[in-house]
Every structure is written in structure tokens, then in C-alpha cells.
Symmetry: C2
Subunit: 121 residues, 2 copies
């Protein structure tokens, strides 16, 4: 179960962006990005930390056949954290993982991005 | 949204352990470990990759008020990967994150553990 875990911590994201506070919009963006990257979503869960007032942050995950995508939004800080973890059991999914992360970073349009990665397993 | 992301990749886990293949048992263990550590679960999702034959692996997440816990089991390899990510917005949750990870490692009883961590945000 060797794999690659990519993280990106974003700053300077527009808090008025629907992706920051609307779980349905965030879920759709995640689903689309997973599909475009060639990875396989198998289940998803989104949780909004407060009322639907356009100000509450969201934690969301998409479980992948290849491991998982996790997103946390902090509209009050203009921040987002992204995790893409793929195992490479049955094939090297590293390129797909990078594409998924890049697509979501672009969707949030941050002014700053801090990237890290771990080789796992 | 500065935080601490801990990972542990386990080998030599007994494939016959219920936690490896039973989503309900895994969910209960995760809930108990989260509560004992003093962190706050807000939602959870478990997905089994095949029939309930005691051989299919599971991907599970517990969304936390403080970020997330993720678990992937590979009974066919005797392997498990664990992620505990906590933000330290409103307080330092690092000690609680380590306790949560340690509790789950103990529950799986691996012969080998590879730990890594990232400072995020």
C-alpha cells in the first residue's frame, strides 16, 4: 500500500466564493475534479459548521477507490486546506493525484499556496 | 488555520481482526478513540470495498470539529494507514491528536509502524 499524500494549504481565498460555504457546490466541484483526474470516487460526506448563511466553513471528504480527498474551508480566514492521498496498489496514481490537487487549487483561486507531500507505506 | 497532520502506516496487522473488515466495528473504535482523546466528531463515513465476507478492506473517515481522522485497511496486505489532522484554531490540539493516533495504533496491534507528520497552515 505504498502511496503519495499531497497537501496544499491555501490563503487569500475569496470568502464570498460559493465553494467556501455551500456544501452542494463544493461536493460538485470535488466530484468533477475527481472524475477529470481519472480517479474513482466511491462515497462522499460534507459537513457545514453552522447555518446556511454564506459564512460557515465546510469539511468535506470524497472517499476514492485509491484512498481519499479531504477539504476544509475557513471563510473567516480566507483559507482552505486540501489533502489528496492515493495508494499505488495496482498502478502509479501520482500523476492523477497531482492533477486533482491542481484542479481544486485553481478552483479556489488563492493568492498563496503552501504545498507539502509525504511518501507513505 | 495552522495545524498538525500526523500519519501512521501500519504493517503486520492480523487480517482476521474485526476492525480490518467490519465497518461497524471500525466506526465504533474510531468514535470511541475520538471521544477518549477529547476531540469532537461531527460526522462519519465508512465504505467497504466488497462483500461482507470478512476479506474486504475499508476506507473510513470521521470528520472532526478540529479537522479529520482517516483510516484505510488492506486486510490482503495486513496493512492500515491512519491520518489525524487537527487545526489549532482556538487552541493547541496536538496532544489530543497524538493520543487519538496512539489509541488506534494500539487497537490494530501492528508489528511495524511508520510515522510521519506535517506542520500545516
Amino acid at each position: 500500500m505504498q502511496g503519495l499524500h499531497l497537501t496544499a494549504d491555501l490563503r487569500g481565498v475569496d470568502a464570498a466564493l460559493a465553494l467556501m460555504t455551500d456544501p452542494d457546490r463544493l461536493a460538485q466541484a470535488c466530484r468533477d475534479a475527481v472524475r477529470t483526474s481519472g480517479l474513482s470516487g466511491v462515497a462522499e460526506l460534507m459537513h457545514r459548521f453552522g447555518p446556511a448563511d454564506g459564512q460557515s466553513g465546510i469539511t468535506g471528504v470524497v472517499l476514492l477507490a485509491e484512498s481519499h480527498l479531504a477539504v476544509h474551508t475557513w471563510p473567516e480566514l480566507g483559507s482552505v486546506t486540501l489533502d489528496v492521498y492515493v495508494c499505488n496498489y495496482g498502478g502509479d496514481n501520482s500523476r492523477k493525484a497531482r492533477q486533482l490537487l491542481d484542479t481544486l487549487i485553481t478552483a479556489f483561486g488563492p493568492t498563496e499556496v503552501s504545498r507539502q507531500h509525504l511518501l507513505r507505506g
